[in-house]
């Protein structure tokens, strides 16, 4: 592209090495066999100055001219001067100038003309000026014809913008200002509302904190009061408990002081402490003895009854029927009738008990057997009775034997009662 736009008068050629420079003599080899000129890197060319080009070049030491070379160059120069001087001397000199004239050195190089067939050529460029705009055509003013008539429009004849626009502007500006003022007022009102809300919220917060403080204080007071009440109640309960303990201890001490003797006495009364031999005698020997005595007495009684019956029968056989007896004598048959009448046994028993007290000679057999002949039951009798009650099985056999004896005892008691009544009647009769 560069080559298309620019043409070189002398196209630049790459630098070549010294060894590859154009040879002095023509080579016999054809041009195609010659080695191509290899371009050399210009950075390695000694002719190229390398380094800063802005400051004064400081030649390195090795570039400093050698003294020997300098001397040689001086000698060469002197030789050239000498040769030049010699040449001048050999060359005929120009004659001196005529009188009144002087020789002037004129450089005719500028006027030298090289004669050649080549016509000197020079390329010259020129640029014409840009085209100017066509000048406007003059205004065609036709010739004036007709009659001139003039008119004048003064201010105010036609539409006056300043006047006509005023009401419109007033409306527009007024509306805009009203709208703006309304918005500003609304914003101010909203800001005031927000400020009042904030103030209210702050006051409410402070009030709430104050209420909470008072509530917490009251709660602490109530809790303290409850704690103190609980503490007082606890102390009172402890005091009461200790007083109760003291009273209980003292009562227990007083109560327990007689506990052991009373317990022993009670046990002894209940018969827990007994003499085994005595118990055996009371529970086994005496019932047996009593039953044996009772049986013997019953046998005696039966014998006597039989004898009595025999005697009565004999008497009846011997004597006739006797008149009605006296009431005292009626009591005797009544008693005799009562002997065979079990219904009167209960009353006869009572009379028998009364008679028995009046007739200590008559042995008194207890209904249940056992026991002493004394009237008041002693503790031994009670205990014996209790044991009898408790030893029902042991005394079952003697009691069973004592039941018929009881019947005989009742009969005997009746007879005794009748005999007693008869004696009482005789005594009363004698008194009368």
């Amino acid at each position: 592209m560069m080559n298309a736009q620019y043409a070189y008068a002398s196209e630049p050629r790459p630098a070549v090495a010294a060894t590859q420079r154009k040879a002095k003599y023509r080579s016999d080899e054809p041009a195609g066999n010659l080695p191509p000129n290899r371009p050399v890197n210009i950075m390695y060319d000694r002719r190229i100055y390398r380094g800063n080009t802005y400051a004064s070049p400081i030649l390195p030491a090795y570039t400093q001219p050698d003294a020997l070379d300098q001397q040689r160059q001086m000698q060469f120069k002197r030789k050239l001067k000498a040769a030049r001087r010699a040449e001048l001397q050999r060359r005929p000199r120009t004659p001196d100038a005529v009188e009144g004239r002087i020789h002037m050195e004129v450089q005719t190089e500028l006027y030298l003309e090289e004669l050649s067939d080549t016509v000197p050529e020079a390329a010259v460029g020129t640029q014409t000026d840009a085209f100017l705009d066509r000048a406007p055509s003059p205004l065609y003013v036709p010739a004036k014809l007709g009659v001139d008539v003039a008119t004048q429009i003064v201010d105010g004849d036609l539409f006056d913008f300043d006047v006509e626009v005023e009401p419109l502007l007033e409306v527009l500006v007024g509306k805009t200002l009203d709208q703006a003022r309304a918005e500003v007022l609304e914003e101010a009102e909203l800001a005031g509302l927000r400020r009042r809300q904030r103030d209210f919220a702050a006051r409410r917060q402070a009030e709430l904190v104050e209420v909470q403080r008072l509530e917490q204080a009251e709660r602490r007071r109530v809790e303290e009061k409850e704690r103190r009440k609980a503490e007082a109640a606890r102390v009172l309960a402890e005091k009461q408990e200790s007083a109760a303990k003291v009273a209980a201890a003292s009562f227990a001490a007083a109560y327990l002081a007689n506990l052991v003797p009373a317990a022993l006495a009670s046990l002894q009364d209940d018969g827990f402490f007994y003499n085994a031999r005595e118990r055996e005698i009371q529970q086994m020997f005496l019932p047996w003895l009593t039953s044996q005595v009772d049986a013997r007495v019953q046998r005696l009684d039966v014998a006597r009854q039989l004898l009595d019956g025999l005697l009565e029968a004999a008497v009846k056989q011997i004597t006739p029927a006797a008149p009605a007896p006296a009431p005292q004598a009626q009591a005797a048959p009544a008693s005799a009738a009562a002997d065979t009448d079990p219904a009167a046994a209960a009353t006869s028993n009572n009379s028998m008990a009364v008679d028995s007290t009046n007739q200590p000679d008559q042995p008194t057999l207890p209904d249940n057997g056992g026991g002493s002949g004394s009237g008041a039951p002693s503790t031994d009798e009670v205990s014996a009775k209790a044991t009898d009650d408790g030893d029902g099985d042991a005394t079952a056999a003697p009691e069973s034997e004592a039941q018929p004896a009881d019947a005989l005892n009742d009969q005997q008691g009746d007879r005794q009662q009748s005999e007693g009544e008869t004696a009482a009647a005789d005594a009363s009769a004698e008194e009368t």
């Binding site: 918005e183 103030d199 919220a201 702050a202 006051r203 917060q205 402070a206 709430l208 904190v209 104050e210 909470q212 403080r213 509530e215 917490q216 204080a217």
Partner: protein, 365 residues
């Protein structure tokens, strides 16, 4: 005749919808009268994205008038922009969320937005890559959390809103301090109106630790620090109802941070820090920590030097609470005269707080 350069073709001519592009407002095709808003809402739902974008931009210009907002709600603006909240282009999303912001500035708009369940989409937009979308989404949530009923409705349907807001607190620290302030203010609304359930939820997520670190790091300007301190105060007010508050405050080292913040050069930050200390001092152990941290000296200086009424009220209330500790009571004996003067303050709240503080400081067993 002078030769003039060729001009661009006019766009106000009857151009086809396909040639509409997002351009300046002077070229928007607005209808007149009552037809304006419904026409724009219809264009929002068209298939042409350029027309959609233009209609969205027109709506953002028109919905500053309450009458236009009412007309838009009647014309069904809320369901119309529901699809555009998830648009692929950030500009469309930003304009759609901006319309939601404009609608939620009015009570009827808030009711409509809550009724159409746009809260879920707004919550997701908190983490949007575009800053404009995030800013508008946070502004919309801030608008929607003005009242207790609305906050409870939002928290009931979408309890994870707290998670997203707390994540935004961490994310916006490295992005935008203005949005960080908005996130903290929205959290404050949720704390105030949500009550103990919301605060307990945030405690489980480590909000107290996060806010303490934010306050300690001095990230952002005074607005960020003041908002963070107010959030901490809103959490600490539940120290008696939620046992985790005192424990986490102790673990996070909140007390030394609050005492240090009381030396902040800005009054709003100091007032918020005193408010948080005032709330925390109800708890006995926290009260002792505050006294040990030197809060008494700070309060004495505030009472003597500051003139801000809110700061004075909070400082006096804090003095009343902290004076229940006997060592602090001794420290406040020197300012009894100042407190006595403040009992005649024109602000009734300050005077009442001074009277309570005087009563506690002068108490003797």
């Amino acid at each position: 005749m002078p030769v003039t350069a060729p001009t661009a073709p006019s766009a106000t001519a009857t151009a086809s919808p396909a040639s509409h592009t997002y351009n300046d407002p002077t070229r928007q095709n607005w209808a007149f009268g009552h037809r304006a808003i419904p026409k724009l809402i219809g264009e929002v739902q068209s298939a042409d994205e350029a027309l959609q974008l233009q209609a969205l931009h027109s709506l953002t210009c028109r919905l500053h008038e309450p009458v236009d907002v009412q007309e838009a709600l009647v014309a069904g603006a809320v369901p119309a922009i529901s699809q555009l909240l998830s648009h692929a282009k950030s500009l469309a999303r930003a304009r759609a969320v901006e319309i939601v912001v404009l609608l939620t500035e009015h009570e009827q708009g808030r009711a409509a937005v809550l009724g159409h369940s746009h809260v879920e989409t707004l919550i997701k937009l908190i983490a949007d890559p575009a800053e404009a979308v995030r800013g508008h989404a946070l502004q919309a949530l801030w608008n929607l959390s003005q009242r207790t009923e609305q906050v409870q409705q939002i928290y009931t349907t979408s309890p994870h809103v707290i998670d997203h807001l707390l994540r935004a607190v961490t994310a916006e620290q490295s992005r935008s301090y203005q949005l960080l302030t908005r996130v903290l203010e929205t959290l404050l609304h949720f704390f105030h109106h949500g009550g103990p359930p919301v605060v307990a939820h945030t405690l489980k997520l480590g909000a107290l630790t996060t806010l303490t670190k934010l306050l300690k790091s001095h990230v952002g300007g005074q607005a960020v620090r003041a908002a963070a301190a107010e959030d901490l105060a809103a959490i600490c007010i539940h120290v008696t109802t939620l046992p985790d508050v005192a424990k986490q405050a102790h673990d996070a080292g909140l007390v030394p941070v609050l005492v240090e913040t009381m030396d902040d050069p800005f009054g709003a930050v100091r007032a918020a820090a005193v408010q948080a200390a005032m709330a925390l001092s109800i708890h006995v152990a926290s009260k002792q920590q505050l006294v040990a941290g030197g809060v008494a000296e700070k309060l004495v200086r505030m009472v003597g030097e500051d003139q801000d009424e809110e700061l004075l009220m909070n400082a006096l209330t804090a003095i009343a609470s902290i004076s229940e500790d006997y060592t602090a009571r001794y420290a406040f004996q020197d300012v009894i005269g100042l407190i006595e003067q403040l009992k005649a303050h024109p602000n009734r709240a300050v005077a009442k707080a001074a009277a309570s503080a005087m009563q506690v400081v002068q108490w003797r067993p």
